[in-house]
Symmetry: C2
Subunit: 338 residues, 2 copies
DNA sequence: CACTGGCACTCCTGGACAGGGAGTGCCAAA
DNA sequence: TTTGGCACTCCCTGTCCAGGAGTGCCAGTG
């Protein structure tokens, strides 16, 4: 493939992203100084269409890029344009004001939405890869406890525990000491094994209670892989003259389904620094017309993903730069709070 | 105003809500057994229009209710239709599965959205009216603490505290004992006064730390009236052929603004059991074309509000019944967990 | 051999226009 | 007070037509 043909493709992608209208040969040869006439561009376009990189909405219309075309653009043509100094300052300032981890996430998601003018999705840091910092037991009634778990990512999880027999204040302190001795500092991945042995370590009269506690710990805290996600910028879906060919309906619905959002952010095992899924590269059916740009974040290892969702016709260089910059900065913050 | 005229109004409201199309005199006289001819209905309609209850989109079109018309319908004509037994069972089952207070809220908001086919908004229980159950201090680094507050509504709040000097484990225990002695069981409304005196009660060498702690407690926990809200069912905005005359844009934007949502749910002092704000009765400009149905909930006293947002042309009896039923049931749950 | 200008052709778009239909207001009669 | 009838208004839909943008192809040129 010719170098000039690539330039033509780039011109088409850039113009189409900017104007949202099919771009014709004349526009390409005029606006982008290729040094050739419109007729020549037409020949190249015919080639690019044949090769599947662009298409015509109808005869006698300009060309628009296909998913394959965008893919080529992203892989070989797009030069990522870094955030402006002002933007970078704004990101830092806004995130620095976060008061706790949850706040970091909600701020991040808003920031991404605002920066990219798209729908942003941020996964709360995954529990599985963090470890236990502290466990707290609070007795609500003699037969009812509140279990609070604090992880080293600053995450707090809380659960009610119904216990079989009445507990004294001392019993609660005993249990509290026990679970902390056993679990403090341990990775959540290792926790199930430890929890299984908990009941056996308690005083005989507390065995039943300890095993109730163990059950709750295991069931709802450790085994809980259902992870939360924050969403912002849904209003941006209506930008650019509601971009999804069909209605907004299925998209809005999908955005409220946690399962779908997790799929959107990609399987947890993907450790790639940054992924771009264009159009039908996407697994989720409702997002076949969309592009998703995601990045992993975390202190050292990846503990979660964030990303934005937009039309395939998006400003790739800008979006990619924004997602990458924000992910990096959030990682830094987590690093500091380690 | 004639009885029959009211019946005509009811017929118009009901048909319009069902079909979303202006309803004409013939339709009214045929579908609703009023025992009068279309011509008579026309006379009544002329009267109702004169009085401002209905209006014509244009000459030679049927009539649609005005906000004033809906208001009359709600106040005098709509008989609330209770939920079906199956619906009631579903509500109970779904909410009973909640694992903690946050989960109650997220489940509630989904439930409301599903039940009413509208956008649902639920305020997390307000801190101001609850009291302190327990305070926990966890040292993260020698100069950094995590403060966790648990309230009697089961709510957990967490904050980082930077302290001026390094603390030993014993110092932390001391502080923990101090704040709990002072604040446990106290209403959050009374807390600021108590917190002000905290530093004075600490050991001399812990004064500086205690006052840092007090500042965080006061600043971010107690004075924090910014309250969280959960939203669900945004996809329902596109139901009924995107009902808002203009674009969805401003609505979607407003739904992401917590401040706006709080306004939507009404000022906290409103203790009315159930309010219906129709069209321009609404304070928020973006919702002038919408109706908001809200209810307070809480164990005994109101600790939060929930509601749904939909087109003025909504199924009032059904919506009101759903909001009321859900609010009641959530209140019951809170009562039990007291 | 690659590039260019010219030209016929296709197809979308927007405005104009007419016919059909739904619904009204008014009037005279029961 | 109610009713049937009738003229009138206005929206909606489909059709038609002209304008415009863009293409594909071809023959000519360096």
């Amino acid at each position: 493939m010719d170098d000039r043909k690539l330039e033509v493709l780039r011109a088409i992608v850039e113009d189409y992203v900017a104007t949202q209208e099919p771009v014709g040969s004349k526009a390409v040869s005029q606006r982008h100084a290729l040094g050739v006439s419109a007729a020549t561009v037409r020949n190249d376009m015919a080639y690019l269409e044949e090769a599947g990189y662009i298409q015509q909405p109808h005869t006698s219309a300009g060309r628009i890029p296909t998913a394959k075309g965008y893919r080529l653009f992203v892989d070989r043509l797009g030069k990522i344009k870094p955030l402006s100094a002002a933007e970078r300052r704004a990101v830092h300032r806004f995130l620095a004001e976060a008061i706790d981890l949850d706040d970091v996430v909600t701020r991040t998601v808003r920031l991404l939405a605002q920066l990219t003018h798209q729908v942003a999705v941020v996964q709360y840091p995954s529990l599985n890869r963090s470890s236990v910092r502290h466990l707290e037991l609070v007795s609500l009634t003699p037969t009812r406890l509140m279990l609070v778990m604090i992880t080293d990512t600053g995450r707090v999880e809380q659960r009610y525990v119904e216990v079989p027999s009445e507990l004294t204040e001392d019993d609660v302190l005993d249990l509290r000491r026990l679970v902390n001795e056993q679990l403090q500092g341990k990775a959540l991945a290792d926790a199930p094994r430890i929890i299984a042995g908990l009941a056996g370590l308690a005083r005989p009269e507390l065995r039943a209670t300890a095993s109730a506690l163990a059950r709750v710990l295991l069931d709802s805290v450790v085994a809980r892989t259902e992870e939360r996600v924050a969403v912002a910028g849904a209003a941006n879906l209506t930008r650019n003259g509601n971009f999804f060919a069909g209605s907004l309906r299925p998209i809005l619905e999908a955005l409220e389904e946690e399962v779908v959002l997790m799929q959107l952010l990609g399987r947890a095992d993907s450790n790639a620094l940054l992924t771009v899924r264009i159009g039908d590269e996407n697994e989720v059916a409702d997002f076949r017309e969309a592009t998703v740009v995601t990045a992993g974040y975390g202190p050292g290892s990846v503990v979660g993903h964030m990303g934005v969702l937009g039309p395939t016709r998006m400003d790739y260089p800008g979006t990619i730069a924004a997602v990458r910059a924000v992910a990096r900065y959030v990682s830094e913050i987590l690093e500091q709070n380690r």
